[in-house]
Amino acid sequence: MSLVAERAPYAGRSSVRQWWNNGNALPYLLLLPSAVVIGVVILIPFFEALQYSFTNSSLLEVGKFVGLDNYTKLLSSKDFWNAFRFSVIFALANVIGCYILGLGLALLMNMEMPFRGFFRVALLLPWIIPSVVSIVSWRWMVADHNAVFNQIIQLFGGRPIFFLSNNDWAQFIVVLIKIWRSFPFMMLSLLAALQGIDRSLYEAAALDGATKWKAFWHVTLPQIRDVSIVLCLLMTIWSVNDFDTPFLLTQGGPANSTENFVLLAYKYTFARNDLGTGAAISFVTLIILMVFIVIMLRRQREA
């Protein structure tokens, strides 16, 4: 009798307690810290920004709800389409450039050659050096008519080129330096993928009558295909979201020719004090990237 009486108060909670005692709660408990961190660092700013993009907020005050005004204004502005154009050029050129350079060097590093270990480390440097240091150094080398590159050009009797003051040259240099900074990651990842390929596949291919080139086409490329697609997706995302390279080299100039979405958002938010439009640019960028990624991943699955 006494036993029943003692148990009675807990009867209502027994299922929760049982659930807890069975260890069912443990996975949730373990996930909690990261869920909290993600919530605080990503989700709250995300929804706050989404909310701002529908207002005419400035950096100093939360503005009024203006519906889709920011978005319609944006989509009809020349600035936006200019940034769109450069973002596409920048991402495309960077991905293609990095892939070709990265794959070429990875193939080279995968061969037996003297000083291979040294080259492997040396070629990682552009990726390891902090962006501020490397980009500012590059700017010193190309910026004006006394910079190293122009001194070399003049040494051979050429006229100095104002790399960062000419629209075409500036776009070229921004892309070039971005490639220089990001190819090591591509190289390293592709090298890892190449080293994972079973060597006997090449021997089998040689016996089957494949030349070096055919073996590359029929064995190497299919074997690194999946890694390549993921790498190119990552590169695209990182290129579209790159702030350091254009900002530190040209700040988007000359004449906005090297201004991408991130610089545009920065300009609206901090230079024009238009937080609403700045946030709207971020969301348009996000949507464009998401559409692109979904299309790519779907195509990968189909193939």
Partner: protein, 364 residues
């Protein structure tokens, strides 16, 4: 006619010589197994035949052509790899047709050849599958199918069964042998497993330390090993090898071993009296009866039809395979009879086979 001829073939990596001048003729249609412990150079020899390793010196002929510097694809050979080396991104049909597609054969020819090979190996229903969807045995068959499709002059197998489980290995062993009986293509097969060698080969080449130790038909090697190494390598359980000295008494000869027993010898060994030898007797040539050899029993292993007795004579391990059931207590000393017509005697120093004067007379 010999299909493959190897003359004084050497292979070095830097200062390290792996093959020390190997010569070998392989007749057309034969199934030849290269067998030996790991590191004996058998795989290197096979890969040199395939053209996957360069030749340091010596010659390789396939058919009538010297192929030392010929590309693998132009040697008219096909190879089955230990790891199968199937192209993971190609279906079974694509894997099998790859060589024909590279040769730009017509689709009709490709389909016919793939179909033919698939029927031989029972792969027809698997043609649209990818290697990852196949079991180990099926992958093995696809690897062979890829070889068959090419109609090669010579098949090369590099330890093709070592990635399979024991049961499947026995099954695939029979399948490969059947395939050879059907196609009658010259085959060179590398393995470290002497059972595979014994069961499959027309001819076994035993290799050791980059040299050919002995070659011959499986039972020839079994019945008359020329060296202690071949004697211990071929046969399972392996031959008992006891160190001793040739002695004589009343005109009969014997070998006195560590525990003082004098083991019987057939024939006239007078010129070897006093010589240190290794006395070899296979476990199945020892039986119950006389007390030729007293063995201290360690373990008894009954398998049903046979009983294996593991024990020691002096310091040497001895195995006895009895065709009867028997039970002995551990540490008991038991006497066994030796079938002296099946005794092998080897020079203790050089390890080479010794023959009695009477055996020599018979041989000549």
């Amino acid at each position: 006619m010999s299909q493959v001829e190897i003359r004084e073939l050497r292979k070095s990596y830097g200062a390290l010589e792996i093959l020390h001048g190997v010569s070998l003729n392989i007749e057309e249609g034969k199934f030849v197994v290269l067998v030996g412990p790991s590191g004996c150079g058998k795989s290197t020899l096979l890969r040199m035949l395939a053209g996957l390793e360069t030749v340091t010196s010596g010659d390789i002929f396939i058919g009538s052509d010297r192929v030392n510097d010929t590309q693998p694809k132009d040697r008219n050979i096909a190879m089955v790899f230990q790891s199968y080396a199937l192209y993971p991104h190609m279906t079974v049909a694509e894997n099998m047709s790859f060589s024909l597609r590279l040769k730009r054969e017509s689709p009709a020819v490709i389909e016919r050849e793939v179909k033919r090979a698939a029927e031989i190996l029972g792969l027809t229903t698997l043609l649209p599958r990818y290697p990852r969807q196949l079991s180990g045995g099926q992958r093995q068959r696809v690897a062979m199918g890829r070889a068959i499709v090419r109609n090669p002059q010579v098949f090369l197998f590099d330890e093709p069964l070592s990635n399979l489980d024991a049961k499947l290995r026995v099954q695939m062993r029979a399948e490969i042998k059947q395939l050879h009986q059907r196609l009658e293509t010259t085959t060179v097969y590398v393995t470290h497993d002497q059972i595979e060698a014994m069961t499959m080969a027309d001819e076994i080449v035993v290799m050791r330390d980059g040299k050919i130790e002995q070659r011959g038909a499986p039972l020839e090697l079994y019945d008359r090993p020329e060296t202690v190494f071949v004697a211990s390598f071929i046969g399972s359980p392996s031959m008992n090898l006891l160190r001793g000295i040739v002695v004589t008494k009343d005109g009969t000869f014997g070998v006195k071993v560590a525990n003082g027993d004098v083991l019987p010898l057939d024939g006239d060994w007078s010129k070897f009296v006093g010589k240190s030898v290794t006395y070899g007797i296979r476990p199945e040539d020892i039986s119950l009866g006389r007390d030729d050899l007293r063995v201290r029993v360690d373990v008894i292993e009954p398998t049903g039809p046979e009983t294996q007795v593991l024990g020691t004579v002096g310091g040497d391990k001895v195995t006895v395979l009895l065709k009867a059931r028997a039970d002995y207590a551990p540490d008991a000393t038991v006497g066994f009879a030796i079938d002296q017509t099946h005794v092998h005697v080897f020079d203790a120093e050089s390890g080479r086979r010794l023959t009695s004067s009477s055996q020599k007379a018979l041989a000549h």
